[in-house]
Symmetry: D2
Subunit: 341 residues, 4 copies
């Protein structure tokens, strides 16, 4: 699959990529679709260079190792199942040199900016981005590891105080991951809000206790931690006043670039509220592998459909329609599949 | 029950205590026995003033409210089930004025220092120390809330990083609480070590995955967080070298006052190890109530026997013999009971 | 001085207060005037109960000790110079029991809510609120310790990362304290902005390097830490976009209760910005005494005028006119004085 | 200068190094000598591969830029004065992928492990390790930036609480840097202890207020933060009991690999003491440049002698004798110099 230019995509036959120095050739198992893919295709993602093979939430099997991979640091071998961290950074800018590589001003992402992603049968990735999975781990569901790594970063910058009450807006992939991790981050209770009743069904399946279409329906009137996983200004402005004194509001969702939200500076002062943001993955990919393999999330309940490369357009349409749960591309599968309806 | 002096205890009839200003009169439900009780009786606890009614891990039912209790701050009512924080502090020393009340140089504990504890049919406590339970909460098992509040303090000063691997020494009450909370504090895995195979049975029941009589039996050779819940120098020196680079060792257990342990300063430097201590309860009692009521620990598996006041000596004997799990005094119960053998 | 009711104040003769249990009688040296005093008089401060003697930034000399003061915890003696923390809290609410006493829902402040303050010749305070000064410390200038304790709380919840660049809006008492502490909190550089050129003169005197009437005049375009010490929405909205990626904006200033500010949720996410609030004093009064005595601030440059009780109205007028620097009441002084013009 | 093998060094003529891809060729200004150099020469540094040009605390002038340097990330130009971070890491190991690059298991240091250092007239370094200095900065004294970056890392993992009292053992280069930064890290007071009276003279010059040959001479009996900058077990065991309840002991000094120190586990528990380590540089080199240029340390008082390459052996002898302050090699200087005696 190639995004040729803004808004245009085609399926083309291409020679198999060759792994360069310190690179690994991987046969794709599954690639999750997320809003970033549509942003990239729509030319709304800052920095994308077309043509580009999309796909950044990927897993697969190691097919070949480039030079320099077997230098003693890692123990990757042909046949290993792996999850791939799509981010690469410049390593030279002020942010890279200060331990904030996710804020790198020259950030590159496989399938997002300038390097081809995983929506093809085989793709290459730098060895430092390739994480080994246990043989018994479901290599298809494991494509949730990439979003899980974002969710762990989200929790890294929250207090993770044992006994906190947590409210999450948005019961999509990210909201569900943040809500499931909440319990692992010390929450005494977790509440999720989504306008869409259908989405709350998945929340119930993954074990989120309190589920509402509006936070007003809850007995509780404020929460220690409120997390926006919608990017929607209405959700944000609904959530801000529900933060308890001493508590934290997190922007996990990506609001439109030009959108503005209103808040009360007096309340931030008087009640010592914190408003924080979290962006992508920082030092959290390896831990996402571990938490996934430790069963911290109910992955089965989260993936509803898989598509072959031939059905890529159909997958995007379904994604844009907001139906289904997490949708995946499985480039080497023989047919598209439905797991949950 | 009264500890008359070092080593001597008797059961006496005493007039019912009267709640003073801002005090609450409570009918005792259950009082856990812990090592502190034997230390107090043996005259080894710094500051104890005899005679003293022991008992600091208590729950009960509100019988009467002293003056000033119903002033609008709280909503305590006669008949409420409650858990009691035994600690009171001076409020004037440098530590109290710096938010470290657990380090107060004039610390007092009900049943431990100068104020009578809960091993009697009714006792009084300052209203600020009385926490309301939900009616549906098991008021007897809830006597585990006090040690749980210590465990939450323990986790408060650990990193609580999602994805850490945790090793706990000691599968007694405290080790089991720390291990159960580990999962709620982000742990990807939890390992517990106890010399006593019998104790590991309880660990299995409460869901601790990896259990050994020696850490050498584990496949893992180092852990991000190692917690001593034995107070035993051999356990400590066994555990220190097992902390992973960048990791933390916590002294939760209380070692003998004069004991010394050996460590490698080079390793602390080279691998940026942290060694930290945790002492009693700080800002964690209310959260212990919430986590207990949220079902964060398996309390049923942890309490093995209850005793009437008449059988107090028998309870102490059993405790000193190290048999059973958590033992409780239930001063208003009609007979002693066995829940787990 | 008594605030009789909203907007009305009179000077009355009253019997000398008598120190109660655990209270101290203090002869007032100096009392700073700040915006809170005018808010209180104007009936805009939540909770004030008239009539009330104002004055919460106070120092003085111990005249008598109430019962229970000499109980071994402290070493206060008649004749000692002292600074007084005006805040008292309920000790029973959820916030008090969680180590966030500054967020206490039943907060009381000497001279602010229900207890008389220091704008009288002698006043009483609970011993836990009385901090001893060194004999060599200037007991009049030391009335800056109370606002300094707020400033230390402000820095307590900022990262205090060595090497940060700091921008402060507002060169009033609080902005000057935050700016002076910036260097002690690791700042590589400090910039201050005030619309009022006159205020920047004091900033120069206390050693703030970069001073502008608009942040646009600076060579630097963003800062790791931006602190609002104006409470003005225009300043806030000017400052928010100047926070560097990964940086923090702090609301130190008190905006009008109903005011709203606009921010970009996208930017908070994309650049992992934090917005935090700080409210009054928490565990910082003792440290303010120490930092004041360590010479961390240039107190002489900050106090411009003192007034006798007879000139109280004149002091308020000057304060409302925004002229002078810190103004003080010195109830036992024989005449009003000018230190800086 | 080449360390040929363990214990053997010679001065040889070598062709000028050529900067590779993303490398910079630098004409050396100054190279500080520290204990690491003697460890390397004595074959005691883990991993050194001989022959090796020593020198890791370096500054210089850019002479040529390799390919890929001028790619838009940085603005390095021929003629720029620069300071060089000697550390390079694998970028692939668990520690590198978790933001703890200083704990990288495949750590390499210019002049320390496998890459030639700066004790030669010209040397190369990866562009990500080269930091631009302001033209007005003294390029020779700036060789203190590398140890300053270690000191900032040291403070990064201390609480940096405003108002703390700090005690430093060792008035060598590192102790002096930690002590000078203490004030910038919030300390209310700083005390330094060194057995060697002569060393305390430098401490006085750089402005450390309290200086003793034994901590017993101080009026203060405990400190919030105690930092060992000696690596000596006697200093460590002297310092540990002087940590105040709630305080922190830091291992900055490098103790012998096999040395053991004794501590009281009871005290760590009872007083919630923390013992922490700090190792080299992490995310702190750029900030060291900024703090150096902000004048945070008195560099003039710290450098006593410079040596030409011809006098390298003499410099090492003087260093081993423990005389002088910081000694430097200035490979392009025409003669050895004495700045302080
Ligand atoms: N911080 C990071 O590192 C990071 C990483 C990945 C993704 N993200 C962002 O996280 C957000 C969520 O991603 P996702 O994949 O979970 O998206 P998603 O599947 O579209 O889920 C968002 C959910 O929020 C619901 N929603 C929209 N407006 C709402 C409102 N006002 N109140 C309550 N619910 C509302 C949506 O309901 P409908 O179905 O009715 O619209 C939808 O179910 C996106 O903005 C994404 O860009 C951030
Ligand atoms: N920090 C705090 O706030 C706090 C609060 C409460 C309690 N504590 C302390 O925490 C510790 C544990 O309390 P607890 O009530 O859980 O005590 P406990 O029931 O006696 O449990 C301790 C367990 O550790 C085991 N053990 C002893 N030495 C060992 C070794 N070398 N290796 C492995 N296991 C070993 C014991 O086995 P055996 O049965 O064979 O002896 C026992 O099962 C005590 O020191 C207590 O004083 C601290
Ligand atoms: N967080 C806390 O614990 C705490 C404690 C004490 C005080 N406060 C608050 O902190 C704030 C400052 O107190 P203060 O005593 O320093 O007050 P202040 O003396 O009135 O100082 C405020 C300064 O800000 C300037 N200013 C106003 N609008 C500005 C703008 N748009 N841009 C730049 N400068 C502007 C004012 O200039 P003009 O003179 O021209 O108006 C004045 O010089 C107040 O809001 C106060 O309520 C907070
Ligand atoms: N953590 C890191 O990243 C890092 C980085 C660089 C260096 N280091 C380590 O930091 C330590 C200090 O380095 P440096 O360059 O400053 O070394 P230095 O110049 O040798 O200074 C050490 C000082 O400590 C004094 N001293 C020795 N034993 C003492 C004792 N028992 N009590 C008081 N003072 C004592 C020494 O006095 P005499 O002169 O009488 O011996 C000397 O003045 C070394 O161990 C070094 O390896 C660590
Ligand atoms: Zn970068
Ligand atoms: Zn106290
Ligand atoms: Zn309160
Ligand atoms: Zn590495």
């Amino acid at each position: 699959m190639v995004f040729e230019s803004k808004g245009s995509l085609t399926l083309v036959d291409r020679p198999e990529p060759v792994p360069g120095f310190k690179e690994v050739l991987i046969e794709t198992a599954a690639v999750g679709i997320c809003g970033t893919d549509t942003h990239v295709l729509d030319g709304e993602f800052e920095g994308t260079i077309f043509p580009l093979v999309p796909g950044h939430e990927a897993t697969g099997t190691v097919v070949a190792l480039g030079d320099g991979v077997s230098d003693g640091v890692n123990s990757l071998a042909v046949g290993d199942h792996v999850a791939i961290n799509p981010s690469t950074v410049c390593g030279e800018c002020e942010f890279c040199l200060n331990g904030k590589q996710n804020l790198c001003r020259f950030w590159n992402g496989l399938g997002v900016v300038a390097s081809d992603g995983a929506s093809q049968q085989r793709f290459t990735a730098p060895v430092a981005n390739v994480y080994k999975l246990k043989p018994e781990t479901d290599v298809y569901l494991a494509a949730l590891i990439e979003p899980l790594a974002c969710a762990i970063r989200g929790w890294d910058i929250l207090p993770r105080r044992i006994g906190d009450h947590v409210l999450v807006y948005g019961s999509g992939t990210m909201g569900l991951l943040m809500a499931q991790l909440a319990t692992r981050a010390g929450a005494a209770s977790v509440t999720i809000v989504d306008l869409n009743q259908e989405r709350l069904r998945t929340a119930a399946e993954v074990g989120v206790q309190h589920r509402f279409t509006s936070a007003d329906q809850s007995e509780r009137s404020n929460w220690d931690v409120v997390i926006d996983c919608t990017g929607n200004v209405r959700a944000i402005e609904d959530g801000l006043p529900r933060v308890k004194a001493g508590g934290t509001f997190q922007h996990f969702g990506v609001a439109p670039t030009e959108a503005k939200a209103n808040y009360s500076p007096f309340r931030v002062y008087r009640d010592e509220i914190s408003i924080v943001g979290t962006m992508a993955v920082l030092n959290s990919f390896g831990r996402a592998v571990e938490m996934f393999e430790a069963g911290a999330i109910n992955a089965e309940a989260m993936v509803s459909h898989s598509f072959t490369l031939d059905d890529y357009v159909q997958a995007l349409d379904m994604f844009r329609a907001g139906s289904g749960r997490k949708l995946q591309i499985r480039p080497n599968d023989t047919e598209s599949r439905v797991f949950r309806s």
